[in-house]
């Protein structure tokens, strides 16, 4: 890893200011960024740790009932503290392994937008709002393809607001070595309809499977999407699985997620 300057500010304003340097990069838990830097795929001039910013930590419930999670909150803290939204807590509890969950943060995961990460599916299926130091971005506008988001240079995710659905579940088919999702599907049933978001499968990153959403909004049951799967065009094909295999998994995991959402509390 090439050397860099390190700063650990205690306020969002100081972090934004520290990120003003050319090639400066925000550091969440570092569970992806540090391995990337070891491989010299990234070489920032400065890392600005967001771990010392108290106002970006923790979970609360907003006036509108939404679950508000600080951008620097770890996966372990979401797993333990997001009981009001069990589907999301379950997603967080399945990321990586215990030591990774103790460091990795929700803001870091969403800012990186790895095409096989879990949180993008949770945020998109929930219709979450990504709150930054500068603005609020709807999840539908935020994810813009593999490793690409609406964030500008130096913009920090300070909070993520999740509307809490009536029923939800996340199903992940783990790539056994990395524990990333070979395919992951988050299903969220709201009063006004069902949202289904898929990670790990598409060459365009996380996406909403609208065909299943329409069927499930009419009849929230695995029977409503029997034999249904998205087309294999545009799906990732690699040594772990072909495009057709991934497309098939999307159907299977969506049915499992619906079945689980019906049998478990929100």
């Amino acid at each position: 890893m090439y050397n860099f300057d390190f700063e650990k500010p205690s306020t969002i304003a100081d972090a934004v200011s520290a990120l003003g340097t050319e090639d400066a990069q925000a550091l969440g838990g570092g569970q992806t960024l540090l391995p990337t830097m070891k491989q010299r795929l990234a070489s920032p001039s400065k890392l600005v740790s967001l771990k010392g910013i108290a106002e970006m930590q923790g979970i609360c419930t907003g006036d509108d009932g939404a679950l508000c999670i600080g951008g620097a909150t770890t996966h372990a803290d979401v797993a333990a503290g997001a009981g009001a939204y069990a589907g999301l807590a379950g997603l967080a509890a399945g990321i990586g392994d215990p030591a990774v969950r103790a460091r990795g943060t929700i803001g870091g995961s969403l800012a990186n937008n790895d095409p096989a990460a879990c949180y993008p599916a949770g945020a998109l299926a929930s219709g979450a709002t990504i709150v930054t130091n500068a603005r609020e971005i709807a999840a539908d506008d935020y994810f813009q393809g593999m490793f690409t988001t609406a964030l500008d240079e130096g913009e920090i995710i300070t909070e993520v607001r999740f509307p809490v659905p009536e029923a939800s579940n996340y199903q992940k088919f783990e790539q056994p070595a990395s524990r990333f999702a070979l395919v992951g599907v988050f299903v969220a049933k709201f009063a006004d309809g069902v949202r289904v978001a898929v990670t790990g499968a598409s060459e365009d990153g996380v996406f909403r499977w609208s065909e299943a959403e329409a069927a499930l909004s009419g009849n929230f049951s695995a029977d409503a999407i029997v034999d249904m799967a998205p087309g294999a065009d545009g799906m990732i094909s690699d040594l772990h699985g072909t495009a057709a295999y991934r497309a098939h998994l999307v159907g299977v995991l969506t049915r499992r997620a619906v079945a689980a959402a019906l049998s478990l509390p929100t």
Binding site: Y2, K8, Q31, P35, S49, P98, A99, V100, A102
Partner: protein
Amino acid sequence: MSQVTMTVNGKEMSGDAEGRTLLSQFLRETLGLTGTHVGCDTSQCGACVVHVDGVAVKSCTMLAMEAEGASVDTIEGQAAQDGTLNALQQAFQDHHGLQCGFCTPGMIMSAADLLKSNPNPTEAEVRHHLEGNICRCTGYHNIVKAIMAASGQDVSSIAAE
């Protein structure tokens, strides 16, 4: 270079670190605590697991500067001053929970992390908690058995006697 200070196994320790100095590197090369092992260096294998402020982390994927002011516990701090092994270490010895021993420091630290929050885990819970710790010798059975034994449970019926 700047100076980093942390409390390691109860003692305050300081040393110089660059921005890129990893916690694992700081413990091993600067403080001379080589019990924390570096296996894959890519946060897969778990040989480098230590506790930072009471929580298990992979020290190869955390910057030394992030541990400034923190309380860090490593494998060196697990046995008593006179060398008496703690319950987990003794159980690993009694139940043949190690062969080459390379993964063992990380296994012990991950297991200690589990038993702190779940003093009476099921076999499935132990296996789930060790997802991020890889052992290429034992096949895991005796590691799981040792952890169950250290938690005070009867392990006579667990596989791989």
